[in-house]
Chain length 279, copies 2
Amino acid sequence: MNVFSTIDDLRQQRWVDPTSAWGLIPTMGYLHEGHLSLVRQARRENDWVAVSIFVNPIQFNNPDDLTHYPRNLEQDLALLRKEGVDVVWTPAPHEIYPPDYQTYIDVQKISQRLEGAARPGHFRGVTTIVAKLFNVFQPHRAYFGQKDAQQVVVIKQMVKDLNFNLKVIVCPTVREPDGLAMSSRNVRLSPAARQQATCLHRALTTAKSAFEMGRHRAAELHATMLAVVNQADLARVDYISVADPETLSELETIEQRALLSLAVWVDDVRLIDNIIVKK
Amino acid sequence: MNVFSTIDDLRQQRWVDPTSAWGLIPTMGYLHEGHLSLVRQARRENDWVAVSIFVNPIQFNNPDDLTHYPRNLEQDLALLRKEGVDVVWTPAPHEIYPPDYQTYIDVQKISQRLEGAARPGHFRGVTTIVAKLFNVFQPHRAYFGQKDAQQVVVIKQMVKDLNFNLKVIVCPTVREPDGLAMSSRNVRLSPAARQQATCLHRALTTAKSAFEMGRHRAAELHATMLAVVNQADLARVDYISVADPETLSELETIEQRALLSLAVWVDDVRLIDNIIVKK
Protein backbone atom coordinates (compact mmCIF):
# COMPACT_ATOMS: atom_id res chain seq x y z
CA MET A 1 0.00 0.00 0.00
CA ASN A 2 1.41 3.35 -1.08
CA VAL A 3 0.73 6.38 1.08
CA PHE A 4 1.19 9.73 -0.65
CA SER A 5 0.66 13.29 0.48
CA THR A 6 1.39 15.40 -2.60
CA ILE A 7 -0.64 15.62 -5.80
CA ASP A 8 2.45 15.01 -7.93
CA ASP A 9 3.33 11.72 -6.21
CA LEU A 10 -0.23 10.53 -6.44
CA ARG A 11 -0.58 11.40 -10.14
CA GLN A 12 2.63 9.58 -10.97
CA GLN A 13 1.18 6.38 -9.50
CA ARG A 14 -2.25 7.02 -11.02
CA TRP A 15 -0.94 7.08 -14.58
CA VAL A 16 1.49 4.17 -14.48
CA ASP A 17 -1.10 2.23 -16.46
CA PRO A 18 -3.63 4.53 -18.19
CA THR A 19 -5.85 1.60 -19.17
CA SER A 20 -6.54 0.29 -15.65
CA ALA A 21 -9.78 1.06 -13.76
CA TRP A 22 -9.58 3.10 -10.56
CA GLY A 23 -12.05 3.25 -7.68
CA LEU A 24 -11.91 6.16 -5.21
CA ILE A 25 -13.31 6.33 -1.69
CA PRO A 26 -13.15 9.92 -0.41
CA THR A 27 -13.10 10.00 3.42
CA MET A 28 -12.38 12.29 6.34
CA GLY A 29 -10.64 9.44 8.18
CA TYR A 30 -11.42 7.84 11.54
CA LEU A 31 -12.62 4.92 9.49
CA HIS A 32 -15.35 2.50 10.55
CA GLU A 33 -17.15 -0.46 9.01
CA GLY A 34 -19.21 1.90 6.84
CA HIS A 35 -16.08 3.14 5.10
CA LEU A 36 -14.68 -0.38 4.88
CA SER A 37 -17.83 -1.62 3.14
CA LEU A 38 -17.16 1.00 0.45
CA VAL A 39 -13.55 -0.15 0.21
CA ARG A 40 -14.61 -3.77 -0.21
CA GLN A 41 -17.06 -2.97 -2.98
CA ALA A 42 -14.42 -0.85 -4.73
CA ARG A 43 -11.92 -3.71 -4.33
CA ARG A 44 -14.31 -6.03 -6.20
CA GLU A 45 -15.00 -3.59 -9.04
CA ASN A 46 -11.64 -1.97 -9.91
CA ASP A 47 -8.03 -2.74 -10.74
CA TRP A 48 -6.81 -0.08 -8.32
CA VAL A 49 -8.44 1.11 -5.12
CA ALA A 50 -7.57 4.53 -3.72
CA VAL A 51 -8.70 6.14 -0.45
CA SER A 52 -8.30 9.81 0.39
CA ILE A 53 -8.16 10.92 4.02
CA PHE A 54 -8.68 14.63 4.48
CA VAL A 55 -10.73 16.48 7.08
CA ASN A 56 -12.09 19.18 4.80
CA PRO A 57 -12.29 22.45 6.77
CA ILE A 58 -14.58 24.26 4.31
CA GLN A 59 -17.48 21.84 4.78
CA PHE A 60 -17.67 22.50 8.53
CA ASN A 61 -20.08 25.33 9.22
CA ASN A 62 -19.43 24.86 12.94
CA PRO A 63 -15.78 25.47 14.02
CA ASP A 64 -16.34 23.37 17.17
CA ASP A 65 -17.36 20.40 15.05
CA LEU A 66 -14.12 20.76 13.05
CA THR A 67 -11.98 21.03 16.19
CA HIS A 68 -13.55 17.93 17.72
CA TYR A 69 -13.65 15.85 14.56
CA PRO A 70 -11.87 12.60 15.56
CA ARG A 71 -8.61 11.59 13.86
CA ASN A 72 -6.43 8.49 14.00
CA LEU A 73 -4.26 8.10 10.94
CA GLU A 74 -2.21 5.13 12.19
CA GLN A 75 -5.35 3.09 12.86
CA ASP A 76 -6.87 4.16 9.51
CA LEU A 77 -3.79 3.02 7.59
CA ALA A 78 -3.76 -0.34 9.40
CA LEU A 79 -7.42 -0.93 8.51
CA LEU A 80 -6.89 0.01 4.86
CA ARG A 81 -3.79 -2.17 4.58
CA LYS A 82 -5.85 -5.17 5.72
CA GLU A 83 -8.43 -4.46 2.99
CA GLY A 84 -5.82 -4.55 0.25
CA VAL A 85 -6.09 -0.86 -0.66
CA ASP A 86 -3.47 0.21 -3.23
CA VAL A 87 -3.14 3.92 -2.62
CA VAL A 88 -3.93 6.23 0.30
CA TRP A 89 -3.71 9.97 -0.11
CA THR A 90 -3.32 12.10 3.02
CA PRO A 91 -2.78 15.65 1.77
CA ALA A 92 -1.91 18.55 4.06
CA PRO A 93 -4.46 21.40 4.16
CA HIS A 94 -2.09 23.76 2.28
CA GLU A 95 -1.84 21.24 -0.57
CA ILE A 96 -5.63 21.39 -0.95
CA TYR A 97 -6.23 25.07 -0.15
CA PRO A 98 -3.14 27.17 -0.84
CA PRO A 99 -3.23 30.81 0.36
CA ASP A 100 -4.67 32.27 -2.87
CA TYR A 101 -7.37 29.59 -3.16
CA GLN A 102 -10.67 31.09 -4.42
CA THR A 103 -12.73 28.60 -6.45
CA TYR A 104 -16.00 27.08 -5.23
CA ILE A 105 -18.69 24.87 -6.74
CA ASP A 106 -22.37 25.33 -5.95
CA VAL A 107 -25.12 22.86 -6.69
CA GLN A 108 -27.88 25.34 -6.17
CA LYS A 109 -31.38 23.99 -5.57
CA ILE A 110 -30.90 20.65 -3.84
CA SER A 111 -28.10 22.03 -1.65
CA GLN A 112 -30.49 24.49 -0.01
CA ARG A 113 -32.73 21.96 1.74
CA LEU A 114 -32.32 19.71 4.83
CA GLU A 115 -28.63 19.60 5.79
CA GLY A 116 -27.99 22.58 3.51
CA ALA A 117 -30.55 24.68 5.35
CA ALA A 118 -29.24 23.54 8.74
CA ARG A 119 -25.55 23.90 7.83
CA PRO A 120 -24.97 26.96 5.58
CA GLY A 121 -22.03 26.47 3.23
CA HIS A 122 -21.71 22.77 4.03
CA PHE A 123 -22.49 21.44 0.55
CA ARG A 124 -20.42 24.10 -1.20
CA GLY A 125 -17.54 22.69 0.84
CA VAL A 126 -18.46 19.11 -0.01
CA THR A 127 -18.88 19.62 -3.76
CA THR A 128 -15.70 21.68 -3.99
CA ILE A 129 -13.51 19.10 -2.25
CA VAL A 130 -15.13 16.18 -4.08
CA ALA A 131 -14.58 17.85 -7.47
CA LYS A 132 -10.95 18.43 -6.52
CA LEU A 133 -10.55 14.78 -5.51
CA PHE A 134 -12.19 13.68 -8.76
CA ASN A 135 -9.67 15.77 -10.70
CA VAL A 136 -6.71 14.59 -8.66
CA PHE A 137 -7.58 10.88 -8.93
CA GLN A 138 -9.61 10.83 -12.17
CA PRO A 139 -11.28 7.62 -10.98
CA HIS A 140 -13.71 5.49 -12.98
CA ARG A 141 -15.91 4.94 -9.94
CA ALA A 142 -16.34 6.89 -6.71
CA TYR A 143 -17.98 5.35 -3.63
CA PHE A 144 -20.23 7.07 -1.10
CA GLY A 145 -22.45 5.84 1.74
CA GLN A 146 -26.24 6.17 1.70
CA LYS A 147 -26.00 7.41 5.28
CA ASP A 148 -25.28 10.88 3.90
CA ALA A 149 -28.32 10.73 1.64
CA GLN A 150 -28.38 14.36 0.58
CA GLN A 151 -24.64 14.38 -0.03
CA VAL A 152 -25.17 11.53 -2.48
CA VAL A 153 -27.96 13.40 -4.29
CA VAL A 154 -25.89 16.59 -4.46
CA ILE A 155 -22.76 14.83 -5.71
CA LYS A 156 -24.71 12.90 -8.34
CA GLN A 157 -26.21 16.17 -9.56
CA MET A 158 -22.75 17.78 -9.73
CA VAL A 159 -21.34 14.81 -11.64
CA LYS A 160 -24.20 15.01 -14.13
CA ASP A 161 -24.13 18.80 -14.45
CA LEU A 162 -20.36 19.16 -14.78
CA ASN A 163 -20.02 16.02 -16.92
CA PHE A 164 -17.49 14.24 -14.75
CA ASN A 165 -16.51 11.05 -16.55
CA LEU A 166 -17.10 8.62 -13.68
CA LYS A 167 -19.78 6.60 -11.95
CA VAL A 168 -21.04 7.43 -8.45
CA ILE A 169 -21.65 4.21 -6.53
CA VAL A 170 -23.84 4.39 -3.43
CA CYS A 171 -23.51 1.69 -0.76
CA PRO A 172 -26.04 0.89 2.01
CA THR A 173 -25.73 2.42 5.46
CA VAL A 174 -23.81 0.16 7.84
CA ARG A 175 -25.28 0.01 11.35
CA GLU A 176 -24.30 -1.02 14.85
CA PRO A 177 -26.18 -4.09 16.15
CA ASP A 178 -28.71 -1.79 17.87
CA GLY A 179 -29.42 0.11 14.64
CA LEU A 180 -27.31 3.24 15.14
CA ALA A 181 -25.83 4.27 11.77
CA MET A 182 -22.05 4.12 11.88
CA SER A 183 -20.45 7.56 11.93
CA SER A 184 -17.08 8.90 12.96
CA ARG A 185 -18.93 11.30 15.23
CA ASN A 186 -20.46 8.47 17.32
CA VAL A 187 -17.24 8.29 19.35
CA ARG A 188 -18.11 11.68 20.80
CA LEU A 189 -21.32 10.38 22.41
CA SER A 190 -21.36 9.92 26.21
CA PRO A 191 -22.51 6.45 27.35
CA ALA A 192 -26.01 7.80 28.10
CA ALA A 193 -26.22 9.63 24.78
CA ARG A 194 -24.91 6.59 22.93
CA GLN A 195 -27.80 4.58 24.33
CA GLN A 196 -30.38 7.16 23.31
CA ALA A 197 -28.82 7.69 19.86
CA THR A 198 -30.74 4.67 18.60
CA CYS A 199 -33.82 6.90 18.55
CA LEU A 200 -33.00 8.05 15.01
CA HIS A 201 -33.12 4.56 13.57
CA ARG A 202 -36.14 3.63 15.66
CA ALA A 203 -37.98 6.69 14.42
CA LEU A 204 -37.21 5.71 10.81
CA THR A 205 -38.19 2.06 11.14
CA THR A 206 -41.36 2.96 13.04
CA ALA A 207 -42.33 5.38 10.26
CA LYS A 208 -41.47 2.74 7.66
CA SER A 209 -43.81 0.24 9.34
CA ALA A 210 -46.56 2.86 9.44
CA PHE A 211 -45.97 3.56 5.73
CA GLU A 212 -46.17 -0.12 4.90
CA MET A 213 -49.43 -0.34 6.82
CA GLY A 214 -50.92 2.28 4.52
CA ARG A 215 -50.06 5.62 6.09
CA HIS A 216 -48.87 7.63 3.10
CA ARG A 217 -49.42 11.19 4.32
CA ALA A 218 -46.14 12.92 5.18
CA ALA A 219 -47.66 14.71 8.19
CA GLU A 220 -48.52 11.40 9.85
CA LEU A 221 -45.06 9.93 9.28
CA HIS A 222 -43.52 13.17 10.50
CA ALA A 223 -45.53 12.96 13.73
CA THR A 224 -44.62 9.31 14.16
CA MET A 225 -40.90 10.06 13.91
CA LEU A 226 -41.14 13.08 16.19
CA ALA A 227 -42.92 11.02 18.86
CA VAL A 228 -40.21 8.37 18.84
CA VAL A 229 -37.37 10.89 19.10
CA ASN A 230 -39.14 12.77 21.87
CA GLN A 231 -39.12 9.65 24.01
CA ALA A 232 -35.35 10.13 24.35
CA ASP A 233 -34.78 12.92 26.86
CA LEU A 234 -31.27 13.78 25.62
CA ALA A 235 -32.52 14.14 22.03
CA ARG A 236 -33.56 17.38 20.31
CA VAL A 237 -34.85 17.29 16.74
CA ASP A 238 -33.10 19.55 14.24
CA TYR A 239 -35.30 18.53 11.29
CA ILE A 240 -37.50 15.66 10.19
CA SER A 241 -38.21 15.28 6.49
CA VAL A 242 -40.35 13.23 4.11
CA ALA A 243 -39.01 14.19 0.69
CA ASP A 244 -38.75 13.20 -2.94
CA PRO A 245 -35.55 11.10 -3.19
CA GLU A 246 -34.30 12.95 -6.30
CA THR A 247 -35.39 16.57 -5.90
CA LEU A 248 -35.44 16.50 -2.07
CA SER A 249 -38.57 18.65 -2.06
CA GLU A 250 -40.95 17.90 0.80
CA LEU A 251 -43.90 15.68 -0.06
CA GLU A 252 -47.47 15.94 1.18
CA THR A 253 -48.38 12.41 0.20
CA ILE A 254 -46.03 9.64 -0.89
CA GLU A 255 -46.97 8.49 -4.39
CA GLN A 256 -44.10 6.12 -5.14
CA ARG A 257 -40.94 6.61 -3.13
CA ALA A 258 -39.79 8.87 -0.34
CA LEU A 259 -36.61 9.66 1.53
CA LEU A 260 -37.36 9.78 5.25
CA SER A 261 -34.53 11.61 6.97
CA LEU A 262 -33.81 13.39 10.20
CA ALA A 263 -31.13 15.28 12.08
CA VAL A 264 -31.09 15.08 15.84
CA TRP A 265 -28.91 16.55 18.51
CA VAL A 266 -28.24 13.85 21.09
CA ASP A 267 -26.71 15.70 23.97
CA ASP A 268 -24.07 17.82 22.17
CA VAL A 269 -23.55 15.61 19.11
CA ARG A 270 -25.55 16.13 15.94
CA LEU A 271 -26.49 12.88 14.19
CA ILE A 272 -28.28 12.19 10.91
CA ASP A 273 -29.92 9.10 9.46
CA ASN A 274 -32.33 8.19 6.67
CA ILE A 275 -34.25 5.42 5.01
CA ILE A 276 -35.95 5.13 1.63
CA VAL A 277 -39.50 3.78 1.52
CA LYS A 278 -41.35 2.69 -1.59
CA LYS A 279 -44.75 1.28 -2.44
CA MET B 1 -12.80 15.30 -39.45
CA ASN B 2 -15.53 13.94 -37.18
CA VAL B 3 -18.35 16.24 -36.14
CA PHE B 4 -20.29 15.14 -33.05
CA SER B 5 -23.11 16.73 -31.12
CA THR B 6 -23.68 14.36 -28.18
CA ILE B 7 -21.38 13.71 -25.23
CA ASP B 8 -21.62 9.95 -25.73
CA ASP B 9 -20.42 10.08 -29.35
CA LEU B 10 -17.59 12.38 -28.43
CA ARG B 11 -16.42 10.25 -25.49
CA GLN B 12 -16.41 7.13 -27.63
CA GLN B 13 -13.95 8.80 -30.02
CA ARG B 14 -11.97 10.37 -27.18
CA TRP B 15 -11.14 7.04 -25.58
CA VAL B 16 -10.30 4.98 -28.67
CA ASP B 17 -6.67 5.32 -27.63
CA PRO B 18 -6.27 6.27 -23.96
CA THR B 19 -2.54 6.89 -24.37
CA SER B 20 -2.78 9.62 -27.03
CA ALA B 21 -2.49 13.34 -26.22
CA TRP B 22 -5.48 15.59 -26.86
CA GLY B 23 -5.56 19.35 -27.39
CA LEU B 24 -8.84 21.25 -26.97
CA ILE B 25 -9.78 24.66 -28.34
CA PRO B 26 -13.06 25.83 -26.76
CA THR B 27 -14.82 28.36 -29.02
CA MET B 28 -18.16 30.07 -29.54
CA GLY B 29 -17.78 29.70 -33.32
CA TYR B 30 -17.67 32.36 -36.04
CA LEU B 31 -14.01 31.52 -36.24
CA HIS B 32 -11.29 33.95 -37.30
CA GLU B 33 -7.51 33.88 -37.56
CA GLY B 34 -7.22 34.21 -33.78
CA HIS B 35 -8.98 30.88 -33.30
CA LEU B 36 -7.03 29.31 -36.14
CA SER B 37 -3.72 30.30 -34.55
CA LEU B 38 -4.81 28.30 -31.48
CA VAL B 39 -5.75 25.36 -33.69
CA ARG B 40 -2.35 25.44 -35.41
CA GLN B 41 -0.45 25.46 -32.14
CA ALA B 42 -2.62 22.59 -30.84
CA ARG B 43 -1.98 20.70 -34.10
CA ARG B 44 1.78 20.93 -33.49
CA GLU B 45 1.59 19.79 -29.86
CA ASN B 46 -0.97 16.95 -29.73
CA ASP B 47 -1.93 13.65 -31.34
CA TRP B 48 -5.58 14.68 -31.55
CA VAL B 49 -7.00 18.19 -31.93
CA ALA B 50 -10.58 18.88 -30.87
CA VAL B 51 -12.59 22.10 -31.23
CA SER B 52 -15.85 22.81 -29.46
CA ILE B 53 -18.32 25.27 -30.93
CA PHE B 54 -20.99 26.40 -28.49
CA VAL B 55 -22.42 29.85 -27.90
CA ASN B 56 -22.68 29.64 -24.12
CA PRO B 57 -25.84 31.47 -23.02
CA ILE B 58 -24.89 31.71 -19.33
CA GLN B 59 -21.83 33.86 -19.96
CA PHE B 60 -23.86 36.59 -21.67
CA ASN B 61 -24.98 39.15 -19.12
CA ASN B 62 -26.63 41.13 -21.94
CA PRO B 63 -29.43 39.26 -23.79
CA ASP B 64 -28.98 41.53 -26.83
CA ASP B 65 -25.35 40.50 -27.11
CA LEU B 66 -26.40 36.83 -27.11
CA THR B 67 -29.10 37.41 -29.74
CA HIS B 68 -26.68 39.22 -32.04
CA TYR B 69 -23.71 36.94 -31.51
CA PRO B 70 -22.69 35.94 -35.07
CA ARG B 71 -22.89 32.29 -36.16
CA ASN B 72 -21.82 30.44 -39.29
CA LEU B 73 -21.32 26.73 -38.67
CA GLU B 74 -20.74 25.75 -42.31
CA GLN B 75 -17.92 28.24 -42.66
CA ASP B 76 -16.44 27.22 -39.30
CA LEU B 77 -16.36 23.54 -40.27
CA ALA B 78 -14.72 24.36 -43.62
CA LEU B 79 -11.99 26.37 -41.87
CA LEU B 80 -11.35 23.64 -39.30
CA ARG B 81 -11.23 20.93 -41.96
CA LYS B 82 -8.46 22.85 -43.74
CA GLU B 83 -6.45 22.98 -40.51
CA GLY B 84 -6.56 19.21 -40.07
CA VAL B 85 -8.72 19.23 -36.94
CA ASP B 86 -9.73 15.70 -35.86
CA VAL B 87 -12.91 16.30 -33.88
CA VAL B 88 -15.46 19.11 -33.73
CA TRP B 89 -18.14 19.11 -31.07
CA THR B 90 -21.28 21.19 -31.68
CA PRO B 91 -23.62 20.37 -28.79
CA ALA B 92 -27.20 21.61 -28.59
CA PRO B 93 -28.00 23.87 -25.62
CA HIS B 94 -30.13 21.16 -23.95
CA GLU B 95 -27.16 18.76 -24.05
CA ILE B 96 -25.15 21.29 -22.07
CA TYR B 97 -27.87 22.70 -19.82
CA PRO B 98 -30.72 20.22 -19.34
CA PRO B 99 -33.86 21.50 -17.57
CA ASP B 100 -32.76 20.55 -14.03
CA TYR B 101 -29.26 22.03 -14.48
CA GLN B 102 -28.09 23.77 -11.26
CA THR B 103 -24.30 23.63 -10.81
CA TYR B 104 -22.03 26.66 -11.12
CA ILE B 105 -18.36 27.37 -10.52
CA ASP B 106 -17.13 30.65 -9.08
CA VAL B 107 -13.56 31.88 -9.07
CA GLN B 108 -14.17 34.54 -6.49
CA LYS B 109 -11.62 37.34 -6.22
CA ILE B 110 -10.18 37.76 -9.70
CA SER B 111 -13.62 37.34 -11.32
CA GLN B 112 -14.89 40.48 -9.60
CA ARG B 113 -12.64 42.98 -11.35
CA LEU B 114 -12.56 44.51 -14.87
CA GLU B 115 -14.81 42.44 -17.14
CA GLY B 116 -16.33 40.78 -14.08
CA ALA B 117 -17.35 44.14 -12.64
CA ALA B 118 -18.69 45.32 -16.00
CA ARG B 119 -20.48 42.04 -16.83
CA PRO B 120 -22.04 40.47 -13.70
CA GLY B 121 -22.18 36.68 -13.93
CA HIS B 122 -19.97 36.56 -17.03
CA PHE B 123 -17.06 34.65 -15.50
CA ARG B 124 -19.31 32.26 -13.58
CA GLY B 125 -20.69 31.36 -17.02
CA VAL B 126 -17.20 31.05 -18.50
CA THR B 127 -15.72 28.91 -15.74
CA THR B 128 -18.78 26.67 -15.62
CA ILE B 129 -18.79 25.92 -19.36
CA VAL B 130 -15.00 25.54 -19.51
CA ALA B 131 -15.02 23.05 -16.61
CA LYS B 132 -17.74 21.10 -18.38
CA LEU B 133 -15.73 21.07 -21.61
CA PHE B 134 -12.64 19.95 -19.69
CA ASN B 135 -14.62 17.05 -18.24
CA VAL B 136 -16.20 16.11 -21.55
CA PHE B 137 -12.91 16.13 -23.49
CA GLN B 138 -10.40 15.44 -20.69
CA PRO B 139 -7.71 17.09 -22.82
CA HIS B 140 -4.02 17.26 -22.00
CA ARG B 141 -3.81 20.85 -23.21
CA ALA B 142 -6.42 23.58 -23.64
CA TYR B 143 -5.78 26.66 -25.78
CA PHE B 144 -6.98 30.20 -25.15
CA GLY B 145 -6.15 33.60 -26.69
CA GLN B 146 -4.42 36.37 -24.77
CA LYS B 147 -7.02 38.77 -26.19
CA ASP B 148 -9.34 37.71 -23.35
CA ALA B 149 -6.64 38.40 -20.77
CA GLN B 150 -8.81 38.16 -17.67
CA GLN B 151 -10.50 35.02 -18.94
CA VAL B 152 -7.07 33.42 -19.16
CA VAL B 153 -6.19 34.46 -15.60
CA VAL B 154 -9.54 33.21 -14.26
CA ILE B 155 -9.33 29.87 -16.08
CA LYS B 156 -5.74 29.32 -14.94
CA GLN B 157 -6.84 29.97 -11.36
CA MET B 158 -9.72 27.51 -11.71
CA VAL B 159 -7.45 24.85 -13.19
CA LYS B 160 -5.02 25.30 -10.31
CA ASP B 161 -7.68 25.48 -7.58
CA LEU B 162 -9.77 22.53 -8.82
CA ASN B 163 -6.69 20.47 -9.80
CA PHE B 164 -7.67 19.88 -13.41
CA ASN B 165 -5.05 17.58 -14.91
CA LEU B 166 -4.23 19.65 -17.99
CA LYS B 167 -2.12 22.53 -19.20
CA VAL B 168 -3.60 25.89 -20.16
CA ILE B 169 -1.77 27.26 -23.20
CA VAL B 170 -2.12 30.96 -23.96
CA CYS B 171 -1.48 32.21 -27.51
CA PRO B 172 -0.78 35.81 -28.56
CA THR B 173 -3.58 38.10 -29.74
CA VAL B 174 -3.96 38.04 -33.52
CA ARG B 175 -4.63 41.45 -35.06
CA GLU B 176 -5.93 42.97 -38.28
CA PRO B 177 -3.26 44.88 -40.28
CA ASP B 178 -4.40 48.15 -38.64
CA GLY B 179 -3.99 46.69 -35.13
CA LEU B 180 -7.62 45.86 -34.27
CA ALA B 181 -7.67 42.64 -32.22
CA MET B 182 -9.56 39.91 -34.05
CA SER B 183 -12.95 39.18 -32.49
CA SER B 184 -16.14 37.57 -33.68
CA ARG B 185 -17.93 40.74 -32.62
CA ASN B 186 -15.96 42.91 -35.10
CA VAL B 187 -18.39 41.90 -37.85
CA ARG B 188 -21.06 43.91 -36.06
CA LEU B 189 -19.14 47.20 -36.46
CA SER B 190 -20.46 49.72 -39.01
CA PRO B 191 -17.82 50.92 -41.51
CA ALA B 192 -17.33 54.14 -39.50
CA ALA B 193 -17.11 52.27 -36.20
CA ARG B 194 -14.73 49.74 -37.72
CA GLN B 195 -12.36 52.56 -38.64
CA GLN B 196 -12.48 54.07 -35.16
CA ALA B 197 -12.18 50.67 -33.44
CA THR B 198 -8.41 50.88 -33.87
CA CYS B 199 -8.41 53.36 -30.97
CA LEU B 200 -8.11 50.50 -28.43
CA HIS B 201 -4.86 49.21 -29.86
CA ARG B 202 -3.51 52.72 -30.41
CA ALA B 203 -4.27 53.57 -26.78
CA LEU B 204 -2.37 50.48 -25.64
CA THR B 205 0.68 51.00 -27.86
CA THR B 206 0.83 54.69 -26.97
CA ALA B 207 0.78 53.81 -23.27
CA LYS B 208 3.41 51.14 -23.87
CA SER B 209 5.70 53.68 -25.50
CA ALA B 210 5.17 56.07 -22.60
CA PHE B 211 5.98 53.23 -20.18
CA GLU B 212 9.15 52.39 -22.05
CA MET B 213 10.16 56.04 -21.91
CA GLY B 214 10.01 55.85 -18.11
CA ARG B 215 6.44 56.69 -17.20
CA HIS B 216 5.68 54.04 -14.60
CA ARG B 217 2.81 55.67 -12.70
CA ALA B 218 -0.54 54.07 -13.50
CA ALA B 219 -2.39 57.39 -13.43
CA GLU B 220 -0.25 58.75 -16.23
CA LEU B 221 -0.71 55.69 -18.43
CA HIS B 222 -4.41 55.77 -17.68
CA ALA B 223 -4.64 59.38 -18.84
CA THR B 224 -2.63 58.59 -21.97
CA MET B 225 -5.00 55.77 -22.95
CA LEU B 226 -8.09 57.85 -22.20
CA ALA B 227 -6.83 60.70 -24.37
CA VAL B 228 -6.27 58.38 -27.34
CA VAL B 229 -9.72 56.77 -27.06
CA ASN B 230 -11.40 60.16 -26.66
CA GLN B 231 -10.07 61.23 -30.06
CA ALA B 232 -12.54 58.74 -31.60
CA ASP B 233 -15.98 60.36 -31.48
CA LEU B 234 -17.89 57.04 -31.69
CA ALA B 235 -15.91 55.56 -28.77
CA ARG B 236 -17.00 55.56 -25.12
CA VAL B 237 -14.69 54.10 -22.46
CA ASP B 238 -16.16 51.39 -20.22
CA TYR B 239 -12.98 50.90 -18.20
CA ILE B 240 -9.24 51.43 -18.48
CA SER B 241 -6.96 49.41 -16.21
CA VAL B 242 -3.31 49.14 -15.22
CA ALA B 243 -3.22 45.96 -13.14
CA ASP B 244 -1.03 43.22 -11.76
CA PRO B 245 -1.04 40.48 -14.43
CA GLU B 246 -1.68 37.69 -11.89
CA THR B 247 -3.95 39.17 -9.21
CA LEU B 248 -5.56 41.78 -11.51
CA SER B 249 -5.51 44.30 -8.69
CA GLU B 250 -4.98 47.87 -9.85
CA LEU B 251 -1.44 49.21 -9.52
CA GLU B 252 -0.33 52.69 -8.52
CA THR B 253 3.18 52.28 -9.87
CA ILE B 254 4.48 49.53 -12.11
CA GLU B 255 7.34 47.72 -10.38
CA GLN B 256 7.92 44.84 -12.80
CA ARG B 257 5.03 43.94 -15.08
CA ALA B 258 1.54 45.23 -15.74
CA LEU B 259 -1.51 44.27 -17.74
CA LEU B 260 -2.83 47.33 -19.55
CA SER B 261 -6.40 46.64 -20.59
CA LEU B 262 -9.50 48.48 -21.64
CA ALA B 263 -13.09 47.98 -22.68
CA VAL B 264 -14.62 50.48 -25.07
CA TRP B 265 -18.03 50.82 -26.65
CA VAL B 266 -17.52 51.78 -30.29
CA ASP B 267 -20.95 52.81 -31.44
CA ASP B 268 -23.07 49.92 -30.10
CA VAL B 269 -20.38 47.22 -30.00
CA ARG B 270 -18.32 46.61 -26.87
CA LEU B 271 -14.67 45.77 -27.61
CA ILE B 272 -11.80 44.79 -25.32
CA ASP B 273 -8.05 44.65 -25.79
CA ASN B 274 -4.90 44.42 -23.69
CA ILE B 275 -1.15 44.39 -23.71
CA ILE B 276 1.44 43.33 -21.12
CA VAL B 277 4.32 45.70 -20.38
CA LYS B 278 7.43 44.82 -18.44
CA LYS B 279 10.60 46.56 -17.31
